[in-house]
């Protein structure tokens, strides 16, 4: 039996890897682990992983419609409600529109219209919390 042990990383096709890199590094705090801009590739990390998110500049067309299979949202966790409040303030100041904001989570859009969730909460409660979030 195959036994996946951990969700490791996502790779996104983006229209402009520098624009997307700047979004994830400046507004969410991801760090560059490697980038090959001549190949249109950026790898981003959050700790000692080689990457949790990679951005490949392969797209030129409009983002998918809600009817197409794919990402509903990508979620990143924050430490606590204070950090979520601080994030809310910073994102507002940076002019990033916030969608579906509540006390435990907020949603923003990356440059390719992918929905990104920031949330706080204990990990054991995550599934229950996300049940609510999934309805958005």
């Amino acid at each position: 039996m195959v036994k996946a042990e951990k969700l490791g990383h996502l790779v996104l096709a983006v229209r402009d890897c520098v624009r997307s890199r700047d979004f994830y590094t400046r507004h969410l705090g991801l760090k560059i682990s490697s980038e090959k801009l001549e190949r249109g590739q950026v790898f981003l990390t959050l700790g000692d992983e080689h990457h949790v998110l990679a951005l490949f500049q392969r797209a030129t067309a409009e983002p998918p419609t809600p009817e197409q299979p794919g990402i509903v949202h990508i979620a990143f966790s924050l430490n606590d409600a204070d950090d979520l409040q601080a994030a809310r303030k910073e994102l507002n100041e940076a002019g990033i529109p916030i969608e579906a904001d509540d006390t435990r989570a907020l949603y923003i859009r990356d440059p390719d219209n992918n929905r990104v969730m920031l949330f706080c909460g204990r990990s054991e409660n995550a599934a229950a919390e996300m049940t609510t979030a999934a309805r958005h």
Binding site: M1, V2, K3, A4, E5, K6, L7, G8, H9, L10, V11, A13, V14, R15, L28, G29, L30, S33, S34, K36, Q41, F43, T45, L46, E49, H50, H51, L53, F56, A59, T60, A61, P64, P66, E67, Q68, P69, G70, I71, V72, H73, I74, A75, F76, S77, L78, D83, E90, D112, N113, N114, F119, S123, E124, A126, A127, A128, M130, T131, A134
Partner: protein, 157 residues
């Protein structure tokens, strides 16, 4: 400065939540945490969070084409190379097509498609400290011989 702590989960819009649930739970071993009464929303996960993936049945349109922004793939780690090799043969025995068998600088990886055609990577790390290897060597993609673990330059097909 906003500082997210970890990639927590991904939510996917799928054509058939039950078919995708079967794939992720029975083929990849991701456990079902909960699902809605109508079976059209399913949460799956590993470890303490029990939530890495949510499947929502809402896709009625075509798969994104090669020019659209999209999820190229997402990746699940397995314990070690033996687990990856076992997975390779188990998936083949189940009739799944292994789309790619690659060695990267930081991982050995195999790729399959989920029921909506989304590419899913299974990988094992090649270094304890993957970040340092990524920073010093960067990305690389070579063809991998699953039996010998020997990599050769990627053949253009």
């Amino acid at each position: 400065m906003v500082q997210v702590q970890k990639l927590a989960h991904v939510v996917l819009n799928v054509g058939n939540a039950q078919a995708s649930k079967e794939f992720y739970s029975k083929v990849l071993g991701v456990q079902v945490s909960s699902e809605s009464e109508d079976g059209k929303t399913v949460h799956l996960g590993l470890g303490s969070s029990r939530h890495d993936l949510t499947l929502i049945e809402g896709a009625t349109g075509p798969r994104p084409n090669e020019r659209q922004p999209r999820l190229i793939h997402f990746a699940w780690q397995v314990e070690d190379y033996e687990a990856l090799k076992s997975a390779y043969y188990e998936l083949k025995a189940k009739g799944l097509t292994i789309k790619h068998t690659f060695q990267h600088n930081v991982t050995d990886s195999i790729y399959i498609e989920d029921p909506d055609g989304m590419l899913v990577e299974l990988y094992c790390n090649r270094w304890d400290n993957g970040l340092e290897a990524m920073q010093t060597m960067g990305p690389r993609t070579d063809d991998l011989d699953i039996d010998t673990r020997i990599a050769t330059p990627r053949q253009v097909r």
